[in-house]
């Protein structure tokens, strides 16, 4: 039976160490744990980023893709945490953790999930710059191409 993913959409921060430990707790069949942590960058005078989401749909979409990863790769566990609200440079935005007996499954499914989150997760980013200027981040064609790698 595929593992049941842990999916959280939250305003507050998360603890990568605690989340990694949770995927290993009480078991000895985990051989590899891959993770990706997305962080708010401070490029070009960015002072803050407002992350809007679609309550209800966002959780549902993230749960569905995490379940797909658990079905597609032999994962022992999988955690996806995505923040919303106002974030400043250096703040963590998203955490993907995948655990498996073997490293390839963990590494591939982690890349799959982050590529998917970039293109299909219902979040919208508004950047705020010094002086008060703001702009909505536009979707990138390169992110779509990355996500399309996983189509089958």
């Amino acid at each position: 039976m595929p593992a049941v993913p842990r999916v959280l959409v939250q305003a507050g921060p998360f603890d990568i160490g605690a989340e990694a430990a949770r995927l290993q707790a009480g078991r000895t069949d985990v051989g590899g744990l891959a993770s990706f942590l997305g962080i708010c960058r401070g490029d070009g005078g960015l002072v803050a980023m407002e992350l809007e989401h679609y309550p209800g749909m966002t959780e549902k979409a993230l749960t569905r893709i995490a379940e797909e990863a658990c079905a597609r790769w032999p994962l022992t566990g999988c955690t996806v945490i995505h923040r919303h609200g106002r974030l400043v440079p250096g703040d963590p935005i998203v955490l993907v953790l995948t655990a498996s007996a073997h490293r390839v499954a963990a590494l591939e499914s982690c890349a799959f999930l982050i590529d998917w989150l970039k293109t299909k997760a219902p979040f919208w980013k508004r950047e705020e710059f010094a002086g008060g200027a703001g702009r909505w981040v536009e979707a990138k064609a390169e992110d779509d191409a990355a996500a399309d790698r996983w189509a089958r």
């Binding site: 979409a61 998203v94 299909k120 980013k125």
Partner: protein, 83 residues
């Protein structure tokens, strides 16, 4: 029918959410967009280029031809930028 707006679509429309009762000939997402665009100058601005707008029906992404009906929750937003 409940309609939700996100990101710059919400800013242009001017509300995050509204209840609407489109006429019976509005049967799909594309038809709803055309009808909503006539509701106000803000709506018109939001839907000026429908190719820039994505939709979800009952919290699933939906193409322009996806049917809509009374009771549905329909959302409009720009292409997503998560991760």
């Amino acid at each position: 029918m409940k309609v939700l707006y996100f990101a710059w679509v919400r800013q242009k429309v001017g509300v995050a959410e509204e209840e609407v009762a489109p006429p019976a000939e509005v049967r799909d997402v594309a038809g709803l967009i055309a009808w909503l665009a006539g509701r106000s100058a803000g709506h018109a601005a939001a839907f000026a280029d429908p190719r820039q707008v994505r939709a979800a029906v009952n919290q699933d992404f939906a193409p322009p031809a996806h049917p809509v009906k009374p009771g549905d929750e329909v959302a409009f937003f720009p292409p997503v930028t998560g991760g």
